[in-house]
């Protein structure tokens, strides 16, 4: 072991947890050590010049805690230590603009506020956005709105799948292709990304099994829209497809039952859903995974983008106040959807494989920039503890 110079520590009032100062690059000042556990929660740092700080938190509270640095006037927090178990240390780097703050230390049974933390100096040369913690309760209304919207689409989806069933019974393959696409795109707006709807979602829209040659997909053992697609596009006798449509209708019925359960979509899901829908489209559809013969990958991405708007809209009252990049996100999603729809022609959707390298790069770039922007919404809406009793839920 090489010896290290003894680090210069901030005042430490209690050291029952061992404090191991991690090595930092020589250009950075040593971290400020904050011991959590005094009657005021934190007494070690009650202000200083505005700027960028490395904080090292020591949890001597004797319980798991959440720590926030809050501006009580705006309720915005600028530093957080989440999931901070007893007896451990955590490092956090954050910029603190000028202002008057307080440390808030929350455990299961207590909430402590520190004495005022006064940060002085000129405004920082870059924007630092505190957030008002969004609680699980805050997300109750958005969740109900979103679930209500999804549930409201299910009768139309059922009707569209029934029309597909009728086409197959009539032996009309061309109509079946058109109606399959209509129904599938409706489902692709409903946010079933990253197995959001578990087994029922798989029964409705599982990807085709990997490693099966396209010409053999129609005979492969799977279910749902993609199985029906494989059979329709590979000219299987229409009557043999009908039982798969019946199974799909049954699965859609189950989805309606499951969405009626109280925690069908949890607060954590709600914050992430818009982001995950488009990550899923990027990871799978834009890699050409999922297609079972219709080559409607870009139609799926378009439907997914509509699904992103639907998952984002119920959160707008929160995001308008909290997400400084909301306008940029909206604009990018609009441009992306416009670009994707540019590949829908009179004769139908261009297949992903028919795009030139530059066309495909443009779509990839637009979607990738969109997911970068959507990641901010997920971070802002991630459920946290409130720093005080807020009273009834409002979105004024």
């Amino acid at each position: 072991m090489r010896s290290r110079p003894t680090p210069k520590l901030g005042p430490v009032t209690s050291t029952t947890a061992s404090v191991n100062i991690p090595a930092t690059p020589p250009s950075r000042p040593q971290p400020i050590v904050l011991v959590v556990g005094s009657p005021y929660g934190i007494d070690d740092w009650l202000g200083g010049p505005a700027g960028r700080y490395d904080f090292l938190f020591v949890n001597n509270e004797g319980a798991g805690a959440e720590i926030y640095l809050e501006d009580p006037a705006t309720e915005r927090i600028y530093v957080e230590v989440e999931h901070f178990g007893r007896g451990v240390t955590r490092t956090v780097t954050a910029s603190v603009p000028p202002g008057t703050y307080r440390w808030v230390c929350i455990t299961d049974y207590t909430i402590k506020y520190s004495r005022p933390v006064v940060v002085t100096g000129a405004p920082l040369p870059y924007d630092v956005h505190g957030i008002i913690p969004v609680t699980g309760l805050d997300l109750r209304i958005p969740i109900n709105t979103y679930v209500g919207w999804i549930t409201g689409q299910l009768p139309a989806l059922t009707e569209q799948v029934n029309r597909l069933r009728g086409d197959l019974q009539a032996g009309d393959a061309a109509a079946a292709k058109a109606d399959w696409l209509i129904a599938h795109l409706t489902y692709e707006t409903l946010g079933g990304a990253y197995r959001a709807y578990d087994e029922t979602g798989d029964d409705i829209n599982a990807d085709p099994p990997r490693g099966v040659a396209p010409v053999r997909l129609a005979d492969a053992d799977f279910t749902g829209f993609r199985k029906i697609e494989a059979m329709v596009w590979h000219d299987r006798p229409p009557a043999t497809i009908v039982p798969h449509v019946d199974a799909l209708l049954e699965a859609i019925g189950r989805l309606a039952d499951e969405l009626a359960l109280p925690n069908a979509i949890t607060p954590i899901d709600m914050g992430r859903r818009a982001h995950e829908i488009l990550e899923d489209a990027l990871q799978w559809d834009l890699n050409g995974i999922g297609d079972a013969g219709s080559q409607t990958e870009l139609a799926t991405v378009d439907a997914n983008l509509t699904g992103v708007w639907q998952a984002l809209d119920p959160l707008r009252p929160i995001l308008r106040k909290q997400n400084p990049y909301l306008d940029q996100t909206d604009e990018q999603l609009r441009l992306t959807q416009q670009l994707v729809r540019g590949h829908h022609h009179a004769e139908g959707w261009a297949g992903l494989a028919s795009l030139t390298v530059r066309q495909r790069a443009a779509v990839n770039a637009a979607v990738q920039h969109s997911v970068e922007l959507l990641s901010h919404a997920a971070v802002v809406v991630d459920p946290r503890n409130a720093t005080r009793d807020r009273g009834p839920i409002t979105h004024d």
């Binding site: 090489r2 957080e80 040369p125 957030i131 901010h376």
Partner: protein, 388 residues
């Protein structure tokens, strides 16, 4: 000695007349990655180059990440840093060299009039088997460092910072072998490769004449301080190679495999530095000792005609899995820097057509690029010369 080589910072100056990653000895790890520019218009292209410059400056110099969305902007973003290098940044010999391809100078950005004169899509030489999906590109990053994690850390930060404007077209990771046992590192055929670099690097006038492009003639003004940056992805049939005799191997290159010494040289020989002995062919006119088709003899006959053709080589070995026939896919990312693409690389490569080595290698990708001039000061940015 415990953590010596991971904690000693080794950062190269970022500002200067030339970019880093050209004259420095090749680091252990590298990626070359070619992009299509998807920026919507010229202002977006300008922003992309500024972002690229600021991000590279941060990566090589440390300090705070460039301000902006996602970087130290409060509690509204996922972390800017990916954590691969732990907290803080570790320079670790990192260099990021930014070069542009001919297709950037098409009609999209109004750059047609300022294209470096020799820049074009890569030539296909008679024994090449080019895969169009792994050729050319609008922009190339050559990212090198002493360890692969530093390379991949930089790659991820840079791609994320330019997400809307750059899309990967092709990439290849490479490495430099340590000296075995000393001197110039070996390629995967077991031969010392790039031995001739030292005679260029030892003389500032040769570096100036052979590496740095200059304005004037048909070259636009902004190119001064840049360099033609050639990348060739060359598969080497190492398993076939292992099945041929040592004599044939040595006659193909014209060098002794163990020492790197030319098979026929001038008298000045220094023990332990045989590889730097100057080849001499004047008593071997018919190639009885060094065949006329040997690699080093074709590339430079050492008769005074080739001095102006010499180029600075900076290649890397690669290993990229298995071919469909079960053979190892190994080879070389051939990289060289040239003041004048045609006078140097293209002239030598033309001489090498049908060299004895062609049965054992297959060039399949790469491109001609132009390494931008360096960043002069805090207000300068890569590409400003061609865009402003």
């Amino acid at each position: 000695m415990t953590d010596h080589d991971t904690t000693v910072p080794a950062n190269r100056p970022f500002e200067g007349a030339h970019q880093a990653g050209i004259l420095e000895p090749a680091q252990r790890a590298a990626v070359v990655i070619a992009f299509l520019v998807t920026a919507a218009d010229r202002p977006a292209l300008r922003r992309m180059f500024r972002t690229l410059t600021a991000t590279i400056r941060y990566l090589v110099a440390g300090g705070d990440a460039p301000a902006g969305r996602g970087s130290d902007d409060g509690l509204v973003s996922p972390p800017y840093e990916n954590g691969v290098l732990g907290p803080g940044t570790v320079p670790d010999g990192l260099t990021v060299t930014v070069s542009v391809g001919a297709s950037l100078f098409d009609d999209r950005f109004g750059l047609a009039d300022v294209k470096p004169a020799r820049l074009r899509a890569m030539d296909e030489f008679p024994n090449d088997a080019l895969d169009p999906e792994r050729c050319d590109g609008d922009l190339l990053l050559q990212i090198c460092a002493d360890h692969p994690d530093t390379v991949l850390h930089a790659l991820r930060i840079l791609m994320r910072a330019t997400r809307a404007d750059l899309q990967v077209l092709w990439q290849m990771e490479g490495f430099t072998s340590p000296p075995r046992p000393s001197g110039t590192p070996r390629n995967l055929f077991g031969f010392k490769d790039g031995t001739a670099n030292q005679e260029i690097l030892d003389r500032a006038d040769l570096v100036d004449q052979l590496v740095w492009t200059k304005a004037g003639g048909d070259e636009p003004d902004w190119v001064t301080g840049g360099s033609y940056h050639v990348v060739r992805l060359i598969r080497m049939f190492v398993e076939f190679w292992d099945r041929i005799s040592i004599n044939e191997q040595q006659r193909i290159f014209g060098r002794d495999r163990n020492t790197g010494a030319p098979l026929s040289g001038r008298r000045e020989r220094v023990a332990g530095e045989e590889e730097f002995q100057i080849p001499s062919y004047h008593r071997d006119a018919h190639g009885n000792t060094v065949p006329l088709t040997a690699h080093i003899r074709l590339a430079n006959p050492h008769d005074g005609t080739a001095d102006d053709r010499r180029m600075l080589r900076r290649g890397f070995n690669y290993s990229a899995g298995i071919e469909r026939n079960g053979q190892l896919d190994m080879g070389m990312i051939f990289i060289c820097f040239n003041a004048d693409l045609d006078r140097q690389f293209v002239a030598v490569q033309t001489l090498l057509i049908d060299e004895a080595l062609v049965d054992y290698i297959s060039p399949f990708g790469g491109g001609y690029f132009f390494a931008l001039p360096g960043v002069r000061d805090a207000d300068d940015w890569l590409g400003r010369g061609m865009l402003d």
